[in-house]
Amino acid sequence: MSNASRRDVLKIALAGAGAAALPLRAQAEGKTITLLHETSFIKTFDEYMQNTLVPAYEKETGVKVVYELTSVGSLPTRTSTIIETGSGADVTMIFLLYPFLFGDKLQDVSDIADEVGKAQGGWYDAGKEAGIVNGKWKAIPHSNIGQLMNWRTDWFAEVGVKKFPDTWEELYDVGKKLKAKDHPFGFELGHGFGDNHGWLYPLLWSYGGHEVEADGKTVVIDSDETAKAVDFARKFFKDTMLDDVLSWTDVSNNKAWMAEQISCTNNAESILWFAKRNFPDIAKVTDQAQNPAGPKGRFHLLNCVSHSVFDFSPEKEEAHKFLRWMMAEKQLGGWYASADSYYQPFLHAYDNAPMWQVEPRNIPYRDAMTTAHLPGWPAPPGRQLAESVAKYVVVDMFAKACSGAATKDVIKAADSQLREIYRAV
């Protein structure tokens, strides 16, 4: 009896273990891929992926998608770690110069880019600049998060300005009057991630200055054009801004805007988006405009959000299929619309999409894409440019001048830093 009983118990236990293992086996047979993203400032954007696109893909294909979010600013570290260890997410969000740094470890997605481009009105040139590495698409551009001018219409009106100034010099004149009325400007000159480069590169370019020639070798920062841009930045800072901008990081201008401390800044659309939801009275008097023009034209910083597939991923085929599906109009249109127009598409099919009418004040962000370039333009993106950006060479050149250093000294310092960076390779 006792033997039989023990055998029974064993049978039950084995049957139980088998039953418990069944769903696991079934799950193991299904594919799972992970999409890594930096948390969006726009909550509804992440919610749309999590609650709409992920279940839809699973229903359609049986492939499970894990939408993994990482905090703002931590994506480069996460992707570097994944690449170095060869394990982690299969598809990743990627931006700025990183497709060019990680290119060897990213899958060639040219077929997706061609297909999506043909189906959705063609790519903006800025999209090609951000995604093509050595002739192959290594990142599929999703959208641009433009850095444009945010200005207070009520305070500008106090000094008789109804339309945003067209040139840097005109903006300077307005800023001088506004600072006298205790409504200073606030443009980041510290070591943030984006709001500093967001206006300083366009300012440099609009005066005709560049770090390096298009050959990617010849350092040309020491020029009359750069000197003019630096001279302008110095007086622009001194006569229109708060002293604290020298230490600002990316959150600072948003905070100052909501505290009604500044009348003009350079930022993404997040200022208006946040103000509309939390400070509606401020949102009513907030408008946005393209960057002012300089003697050599009008420019913007290309702040491209793209997606890449890691070439070493064991699920790279599935990841490739998912990226193709995600970039199809049916999915992409809804995803863009979920964030109003915070994310500006690189595909011409969306030039007149209804999302632009949700908040017409965002339209300058769409129009700015034709004059947007990556940091360091016209030099080809690569390790030297990434080093220059990481060392804040251009930002600190302007910031030192704003702190009182002589133009020739700050340019000389930047020139010697760039020569060292470019000589090293």
Binding site: E84, W248, A390, Y392, A413, E420
Partner: protein, 311 residues
């Protein structure tokens, strides 16, 4: 008397017991190594391996996502030719030097005050540890608000005392920014000094103070000739730890200024991170981080030798 000695070998043979696992483990030499093995393995895996990997990286031209090529001392030569690197080295020494002195003097004062008898002594001693317990990122964000020009409680107080509006730009001026991060580091590190020195103070025998008082020593003389000599080894050890932590500080600067304005607050750790992670140059970043090694190693050796000599 005839003394016959027993053949030792035979006795040995007779008395030898078979070596079992438990008797082998009971041997002092085996047991001590057994006990030391886990921490040694742990240190090798989590300290030794990254350390030697860091040295290997610093000798390579190594981009993220690409295989490295041996570059000898090229990365260090590049650092030596980089003016920002020297600025960062100077910042790190200034930051560590001033913050350590402030923490040492302040911590000693704190410990002496806490060694007195007063009401709710234990509660106040516990509260003093708060700056040390609160995560650095959290307390730094609080300081970010306190030093913010629009919301600065510091500036509001100063304006009440007649400082012209809007008050000093605590993080915008290079000198004030360095001053601010030193002050915040001191605030955070003071309890470590204070509590450790307090523990040392409580070991000073009361008889020594009584004897000194009978000999006519005043308060200052009792401190100078009784308290300080006894506390000296503890002060040295605490300073050693504090210098190491401060020299390699990262979070405070990364959150508050990210090295700005114009590298005025950039330290070796933050600069190495920007080069390694921001620019993807792992080899060059490792070489910047490793510059901390000689200074710290010298300090550790000097303090260890001094303590050995004293003992």
């Amino acid at each position: 008397m005839v003394v016959r000695s027993e053949p030792i070998v035979a006795v040995g043979r007779l008395q030898r017991r078979p070596v079992t696992l438990s008797t082998w483990l009971d041997r002092g030499s085996v047991f001590s190594w057994l006990m030391m093995a886990p921490p040694i393995l742990f240190l090798m895996a989590f300290v030794g391996y990254p350390f030697f990997y860091g040295i290997a990286l610093s000798l390579e031209d190594r981009m993220v996502a690409q295989p490295g090529t041996f570059a000898g001392l090229n990365n260090f030569i590049r650092d030596a030719n980089d003016p920002v690197f020297w600025k960062v080295v100077s910042n790190t020494f200034i930051y560590t030097g001033i913050a350590t002195v402030l923490k040492m003097v302040g911590g000693l004062g704190l410990a002496l005050a806490m060694n007195q008898q007063f009401r709710m002594k234990n509660l106040i001693r516990a509260l003093l540890l708060l700056p040390f317990i609160v995560p650095t990122v959290l307390s730094t964000v609080a300081f970010m608000w306190m030093l913010d020009p629009a919301f600065s409680v510091v500036n509001r107080v100063l304006i009440q005392f007649g400082v012209p509006k809007p008050g000093p730009s605590w993080l915008g001026s290079p000198i004030l920014a360095m001053f601010s991060i030193i002050m915040i580091n001191t605030w955070r590190g003071l309890p470590f000094y204070g509590i450790t020195l307090l523990a040392g103070l409580q070991t000073v025998p009361v008889e020594l103070y009584e004897a000194a008082t009978i000999d006519g020593a005043g308060g200052w003389q009792r401190f100078r000739y009784v308290t300080l000599p006894i506390l000296q080894p503890i002060i040295l050890i605490v300073t050693l730890f504090s210098v190491i932590f401060t020299f390699a500080d990262f979070q405070l600067v990364y959150v508050l200024t990210h090295g700005g304005p114009q590298n005025a607050t950039n330290l070796l750790a933050t600069y190495a991170f920007d080069i390694g992670m921001g620019a993807g140059q792992l080899g060059l970043g490792a070489s910047v981080a490793l510059t901390m090694l000689p200074a710290l190693a010298l300090l550790i050796v000097a303090i260890t030798l001094y303590l050995r000599k004293k003992s």
